[in-house]
């Protein structure tokens, strides 16, 4: 296969001559000799096209694609309609980088506008930005928005039941800044409201709560917004957007900001991403929203047109006064979300959410009745629940994999501190069930678990 060959020898000679350099050594004369690489780069030499195909096929074959997936933990195996791939595959979208001369890219701006409108409809909030990198950065930006909105605030509270990765990114994001991050304790798998009550007070910018939370449980959000607002703080809710097809929206709960990962709506559960973060807020915080916002307008002939309405927080506008260093968005992934939501529609989304929940509850119920595993499902959950095994999780997961199942995520690896109901973290797995799972797959899962735990 050809190595990358951006310039021919002739190109090089012409360019060197143009700048008056005798040769490459002469061109790099200003780079101190001790900084120059004296040996070839330590990478394999080039291979033929056939060899590369062979190598990549071998790597691809190492993936296990036949197993039935019950993995979740923030990334879910939902059905993705073919329309998503078809639209994303259009080169006008997938080759485009961020529109610097924004208004010339009407298609991209319209796609962003549609995405924003759909996110607003889902979250029950008035304004959405054009998207962020992922759910964790969205939570960080929500916290920054709150810190900048609530005067004299320095403290951000978050529930321990947040996704552990979000908690870690929050810690990284605010390290070195004069911001106090405080974790609200978890009791029986959900946020401890008494602990919250103790920690809320003057100087608190926000409470960040995730529902459905990392264990899959629904947090009780009743009266939460009132309590948080009484302390002068904002309520930030992180929610799986697909769950909002069936559950009350953050806006309806009184949240000021909704933030989260939109992977469940149209993006595959690849290893590590890419995903996309969504961020929506009440109108009052429009000017505090980081990133950019596309808007609908009319051109000089009165025709519908799209514009980059606001990028109020970005550094080229705010310079040293910028409150966020987000200067981009996740346009292609956001487009996937927009196409997904437009394809399934309000009914389809509700159906996906309800089916996922119904199948998850069916599986939990049968596992509890017919196997030695104990679903920790005493409180409301959406499509994911912790399952306590009679012994260490690792060997059971391995046996299940041999039976053709990715049976769940070991809690110990991600968040041992969240093990609910006195369970030992090493014995708990998180089991996620989406609308894609069939009755037959669920029944086989139960049978396999029964055999393995005999």
């Amino acid at each position: 296969m050809f190595p990358s060959l951006p310039h021919t020898e002739e190109d090089l000679r012409a360019m060197l001559a143009a700048v008056g350099a005798a040769g490459l050594e002469d061109l790099f004369a200003d780079v101190p000799p001790e900084l120059r690489l004296r040996q070839p780069l330590a990478i394999p030499s080039s291979r033929s096209e056939a060899e590369v195909y062979r190598r990549l096929s071998a790597l691809a074959a190492a993936n296990r694609t036949d197993a039935v997936c019950f993995l979740g933990g923030g990334s879910y195996d939902h059905l993705i309609p073919a329309t998503v791939g078809a639209v994303l595959g259009r080169s006008e979208f997938y080759t485009a980088y961020t529109p610097y001369q924004a208004e010339i890219s009407q298609g991209v701006l319209q796609a962003i506008f549609e995405y924003q409108s759909l996110i607003c409809a889902l979250t029950g909030l008035e304004v959405s930005n054009a998207s962020l990198y992922d759910g964790a950065t969205a939570a960080c930006e929500a916290a920054s928005l709150a810190l900048n909105s609530v005067r004299r605030s320095r403290k951000v509270l978050y529930a321990r039941t947040l996704h552990p990765h979000t908690r870690r990114v929050l810690a990284t994001h605010f390290s070195g800044l004069e911001v106090e991050l405080e974790e609200v304790a978890c009791r029986d798998g959900v946020m401890d409201r008494d602990d919250l009550h103790r920690r809320l007070g003057a100087g608190t910018a926000a409470l960040i709560v995730q529902s459905p939370n990392f264990l899959g449980y629904l947090e009780d959000l009743t009266g939460l917004a009132e309590e948080v607002h009484a302390a002068g703080a904002l309520l930030v809710q992180c929610a799986d957007p697909l769950s909002l097809g069936a559950l009350r929206s953050p806006g309806d709960w009184g949240a000021d900001v909704a933030a989260g990962d939109a992977q469940p709506c149209g993006l595959p559960s690849y290893f590590g991403g890419p995903t996309v973060g969504y961020l929506a807020a009440r109108q009052a915080y429009l000017h505090r929203l980081p990133g950019r916002i596309a808007g609908q307008s009319v051109d000089r002939d009165g025709r519908r047109a799209f514009v980059l309405t606001l990028q109020a927080r970005e550094q080229h506008i705010k310079r040293e006064r910028a409150t966020s260093n987000i200067c981009s968005n996740q346009a292609l992934a956001a487009l996937a979300v927009a196409v997904y939501l437009a394809s399934v529609g309000r009914q389809g989304l509700a159906e996906a959410a309800r089916q996922s929940a119904a199948k998850a509850h069916y599986l939990a119920e049968r596992l509890g009745r017919e196997t030695r595993a104990r679903p920790l499902a005493a409180r409301p959950f959406f499509l994911e629940f912790p399952l306590e095994l009679p012994g260490p999780a690792a060997p059971v997961l391995k046996d299940m994999e041999e039976q053709g199942f990715f049976a769940g995520l070991p809690l110990e690896r991600l968040a041992p501190e969240l093990a609910p109901d006195g369970a030992e973290a090493g014995r708990v797995i998180l089991v996620a069930v989406t609308e894609k799972r069939t009755r037959e797959e669920l029944d086989r899962y139960v049978q396999a678990m029964k055999r393995i735990l005999k």
Binding site: A312, I317, K318, R321
Partner: protein, 128 residues
């Protein structure tokens, strides 16, 4: 550049109109002209105590975001409600579109009259 004689000015380009114990605060014609189209005003909080020289608000234009400094000391009595929806009033009528009103805690001091402000602006222009 319009510089009404009856107003007082800060070197940071705010104007002040004193009415008894109240001081109306806005930005000068020169300031709005330099900023360009104003798209958003982030005002102080009503009731907030402000000290002369302290940064209390931000004006965002299509070009940049600029801090606004309190030209007098006291407590913010009220804001200009029109600016929330129509910040462009500052461009159109800079001396009517006040940003906020301060209940003075002490008489204004260290402000310039119109002539002194105009020569201050000329000096700033020359320095650039």
């Amino acid at each position: 550049m319009v510089t009404p004689k009856e107003l007082k000015y800060a070197r940071t380009h705010e104007w002040v109109r004193v009415e008894g114990e109240l001081a109306f605060v806005g930005i000068t014609d020169y300031a709005q002209e330099s900023l360009g189209d104003i798209v958003y005003v982030e005002p102080p909080e009503a009731g907030q105590t402000v000290k002369q020289g302290e940064e209390v608000a931000t004006i965002e234009s299509v070009k940049a975001a600029s801090p606004i400094y309190a030209p007098v000391s006291g407590q913010v009595e009220r804001l200009n409600p029109l600016l929330e929806k129509t910040p462009e009033l500052i461009n159109q009528k800079p001396y009517e579109a006040f940003l906020f009103v301060v209940r003075l805690s002490s008489p204004p001091a260290g402000l310039l009259d119109a002539a002194a402000y105009e020569s201050h602006v000329e000096q700033e222009k020359a320095a650039h």
